[in-house]
Symmetry: C2
Subunit: 299 residues, 2 copies
């Protein structure tokens, strides 16, 4: 497995910068007393993170020649949903985490009520951004984005997966149930990020389906590596507490498959993801790099 | 002020039944373990409530001859947002309420994590419902609905108002600040419910603006009466704890205006709301009744 190419690293850094700039504009400061809420929204979105999902939006948009503003707004909207989910997942009633990306979590830096509201507001603004004509001139495209993001992040997707994750603490799950849980909890948002470019670019069914298959394998590989990092990583490397799955007695890909088989499985999925991109004749090089990066990452 | 007409009461009951049926279909049970989340979503939406917002959607849709299914789906979506906001507002970190509509709140009947997730999922599904072609054949209309609902319920609207409400516990607010707070916290969602019919029916600018002005006055009247009920009502009448504003030392319309002036102001706003409907030549009779009901209600 080659190390992450410096090309990809600099492309990701550049994309992250552009997305943070877009988020900064979309989440302005306010002169009113509720500015505290804007501050919490900005704190929960502008500070660090790999920005993997926005990068996937930008890469897939690039394949279909989507205008930068459209792609960036869509990327920012999906990142708002991702960040809201982190803020709510970190709450005392949920994972009760004090640390995120090496910084105090939103409910620690502000307070719990503000964290609940900041998450709610970020989820809401994501749909406002997508429904805005600046995101795409064709309202049918905007509706497809809203619909795809809502499905990926709601009860059939991310939130449902989070519910399953809570249930997993007290229930024995088999590999099928864990795969389904992770598909919902993280896979679906990764998938919609990858498909966003196809929606924005009105791609053919064949191209959209190639991206969907790529995203499916990528999402699963990503989650297996997340489990590996929780089992093997250090807090300094990952910027968040580690070893929590084992502590909670939670079944993960690693507890079921063991470290070696989990690592082999992630590698296999990454290679498989890359094969789905053959249909783009080399125009999806960045997505190939992402698939390699996802299994190589240390945080 | 006449008492609520029996015509309105039976129209509201009928509409509430239709909306609950629509919600029941939109929030199905699941055979998977995450059914707990669906149960919490159903519990938080299907049990009681006046269904004022859905009724406003149905009334305004009726003026413009909007098809029943379109109006009902939109009504259900807005009610999902209203119910999510109640679930999150009741959380221990927020208002810490044990009782809602005479029943245990969602975090009491389930648990806090499930309540957070049920709220998140209801907010998300609202946008999924609106973006679905079954809500309206024209994607431009669906985008307008998504956009209007997101603005009304996000940081510039309901969630921002909730943040202000929390700040109000420790800050002295004047009547202007309270009006702004209440416009955001409850007025904007009432306004979007009323405007929804105009959006679905592609109403003229004049008609849409009449509805907006009506909704503005109605929303304010509604909130003043809410404050009056908190100051004067009983838990048995309202189905929720009362006297909490005074307990929290929170400024409200009632603490600033006093009971008599607040009641007079609500009545004035209600009459003013009705005047905005003159442009509909009697086709908005139900909305006139609503304006009377809102100041007459006991819960």
């Amino acid at each position: 497995m080659p190390s992450v190419s410096s090309t990809l690293a600099s492309a990701m850094t550049e994309a992250a910068g552009a997305v943070v700039e877009a988020l900064g504009h979309l989440l302005p400061k306010s002169e009113y007393p509720e500015n505290r809420l804007y501050e919490a929204m900005r704190y929960g979105t502008l500070n660090g993170g790999k920005r993997l999902r926005p990068f996937l939006v930008l890469c897939s948009s690039h394949i279909f020649g989507v205008a930068d503003e459209c792609a960036l707004r869509t990327a920012a909207a999906i990142e708002c949903v991702h960040c809201y989910s982190l803020i709510h997942d970190d709450l005392p009633a949920m994972d009760d985490s004090d640390l995120r990306r090496g910084n105090p979590t939103v409910h620690k830096a502000f307070d719990e009520a503000t964290a609940v509201l900041a998450g709610d507001a970020l989820l809401t603004i994501a749909f406002e951004i997508l429904a805005d004509p600046r995101t795409h001139e064709d309202p049918a495209v905007r509706c497809r984005l809203v619909s795809a993001l809502a499905k990926a992040s709601g009860v059939q997707g991310m939130v449902g997966g989070q519910m399953l994750d809570l249930i997993a603490e007290s229930t024995e799950l088999d590999i099928g149930a864990i795969t389904r849980l992770q598909r919902m909890k993280t896979g679906d948002l990764i998938a919609v990020s990858t498909e966003a470019g196809a929606i924005l670019g009105k791609a053919s069914v064949q191209h959209a389906s190639a991206l969907r298959n790529y995203a499916h394998d990528l999402g699963l590989a990503f989650q297996i590596v997340d489990d590996l990092l929780d089992a093997e990583g250090t807090e300094a490397e990952t910027g968040k507490p580690v070893g929590r799955d084992a502590e909670a007695g939670k079944a993960t890909f690693v507890t079921i498959l063991g470290i070696e088989r989990a690592r082999a499985q992630a590698k296999l999925l990454s290679e498989q993801a890359i094969k789905h991109l053959a249909v783009f004749d080399g125009r999806a090089g960045a997505l190939e790099d992402v698939a390699r990066f996802v299994v190589d990452r240390k945080s």
